[in-house]
């Protein structure tokens, strides 16, 4: 059964139709990738799934419940991280996690925060201010925040966009581990094709607000007669 089901989602900003009648589902423990050129409508889609943007048309159902009518319940079972958000910079890493442990009403928060500091190798940084950290370290803090409530669905918008190859690879390895070992479902956008190939069970290509191609990395490569996902991307993006 799908834990996330979006039906005919549509969002217009003035004359721009950012998302156009999009259907999307994510199954338990499934990692789904959303690809497409800048402006394709990926972030708008994710934001509608998170309740940040109200769709003009369509519905979002998670865990069998309508998002808009069950906001608190649904949001407490999912989480989010993105390259364009940050955590309160003046707070210490541990404080930030304690704050969000409260906002997600995490049971036994002290143990959870300690475990995540450990998992993300943030122990030595726990008394450092977030704004003093490197982007790679900040991304790890964001992921720790995103894992506090042991989300059944993790929504990630270009999580590795600001990272150098080394930091990016560390995050990717961690995400793969979370997906494979903990069976955490994810919906992820990225412009890093090897990352998507490595992580995603299923991929949707978006262009101008619509899904124009779907399948596993191998299926997409085969159907577009391309060597890899990168080549698929170029074919899709250039029509």
């Amino acid at each position: 059964m799908a834990i996330l089901e979006a039906r005919s989602l549509t969002k217009r900003f003035g004359a721009v139709t950012a998302v156009d009648g999009l259907d999307l589902a994510v199954g338990r423990a499934e990692v789904v990738g959303l690809l497409g050129p800048n402006g394709a409508g990926k972030s708008t889609t994710l934001h509608m799934l998170l309740g940040l943007i109200t769709p003009d048309e369509g519905s979002v159902t998670m865990f069998g419940k309508d998002l808009h009518r069950n906001r608190v319940e649904v949001l407490s079972r999912i989480n989010f991280a993105a390259s364009y958000v940050d955590l309160p910079g003046t707070l210490h890493v541990q404080e930030v996690l304690e704050v969000f442990a409260d906002l997600y009403a995490v049971d036994r928060p002290a143990a959870k925060v300690a475990a995540l500091l450990d998992l993300l190798e943030l122990g030595p940084l726990r008394r450092r201010k977030v704004m003093e950290l490197s982007s790679g370290q900040r991304t790890r803090v964001q992921l720790a925040k995103a894992l506090l409530n042991e989300p059944d669905l993790l929504i990630l918008d270009e999580p590795t966009a600001n990272l150098d190859p080394d930091a990016g690879d560390r995050i990717r390895t961690l995400l793969v581990r979370l997906a494979r070992e903990e069976g955490r479902a994810m919906l992820i956008t990225s412009h890093n094709m090897p990352e998507v190939e490595r992580m995603c069970d299923r991929i949707h290509f978006m262009a101008e607000g619509r899904i124009v191609a779907s399948g596993s990395a191998a299926e997409l490569a085969a159907s577009f007669e391309a060597d890899d996902l990168e080549a698929v991307f170029l074919k899709v993006a250039r029509g």
Partner: protein, 278 residues
């Protein structure tokens, strides 16, 4: 074979304990931000002190000019005005801080409801106002020998009424930012100053032209500042007026909550939440 379900990672989200924790999270965040920012600690006492010293000396000067004027009038006014201004601005600051630190989306995608969020902001602003009032009261006594207890029993309702009025103004300020974007910060800061000349802080409302007097009597603060002068002149606490002010407070708080809700829905409908800071 029995299968054991993994323990739930979070408290039941709609339960009272979870709600309490989420409110606590907002308070904890603001407290930690304050603790980590010495400038903001400094600010809590800086402006009240400056105003107090300034108006205290004005009073002393007026007295040397044989103007019959109770020391308490201006000092009490400055103190109560700070309650109003801080209640309003602290709420806006806490919200704007999320925008400045690009943390707004993290808060908005958490299960925190708007009501819980606002309660958290109010609780925290209450703490800061209480602290500032304590500092100012001590200064009043030390510098000018004016004890705020001269306002008697009225002091508690005076402050409570101004606090709630300040929260309403702060909410409208936040709503303006949600509706018009970050540039509307100016509105968030200045709204409370619109009330300043109208609410009879430093002079009785009777000096205002008649139409403005009517406006003044629609502002809860007016009854507080008039009441303060009555009490300092040796009169009784005007409970009837304060009850009217409380009624007005409730009405305005209701209206500003509605305005906030409307602005938040607007921001969600127009994709504004993710556009702050760009």
């Amino acid at each position: 074979m029995t299968t054991t379900l993994p323990p739930l990672a979070t408290l039941p989200p709609l339960g009272a304990r979870a709600r309490g924790r989420r409110v606590l999270g907002v308070v904890r965040r603001d407290f930690a931000a304050l603790r980590r920012s010495p400038i903001r600690m400094f600010e809590i006492v800086f402006w009240p002190t400056v105003e107090l010293v300034l108006w205290g000396f004005v009073t002393l000067f007026l007295q040397t000019q044989k103007v019959p004027f109770a020391v308490g009038f201006l000092l009490g006014a400055v103190l109560l005005w700070q309650v109003l201004q801080k209640a309003s601005n602290e709420i806006s600051i806490a919200f704007l801080e999320d925008i400045w630190s690009r943390n707004l989306l993290n808060v908005q995608v958490s299960p925190l409801s708007s009501v819980e969020y606002l309660i958290g902001l109010m609780v925290f602003s209450l703490g800061k106002v209480a602290f500032a009032v304590a500092v100012m009261s001590a200064l009043c006594l030390a510098l000018y020998g004016f004890g705020v207890t001269a306002m008697g029993l009225g002091l508690v309702p005076f402050m409570a009424l101004l606090l709630v009025m300040g929260w309403s103004l702060g909410l409208v300020g936040i709503a303006a930012v949600l509706r018009f974007g970050e540039n509307a910060q100016v509105i968030a800061w200045s709204l409370v100053f619109v009330a300043q000349p109208l609410t009879g802080i430093f002079y009785p409302v009777s000096v205002l032209p008649a139409p403005l007097q009517t406006v003044a009597h629609l502002i809860p603060g007016t009854y507080v500042f008039e009441g303060m002068r009555t009490v300092l002149n040796g009169g009784a606490v005007p409970w009837g007026d304060l009850a009217l002010a409380a009624l007005l407070d409730v009405v305005y708080l209701g209206i500003s909550l509605a305005v906030f809700g409307w602005a938040l829905r607007y921001a969600r409908a127009h994709g504004k939440l993710s556009r702050f800071g760009e």
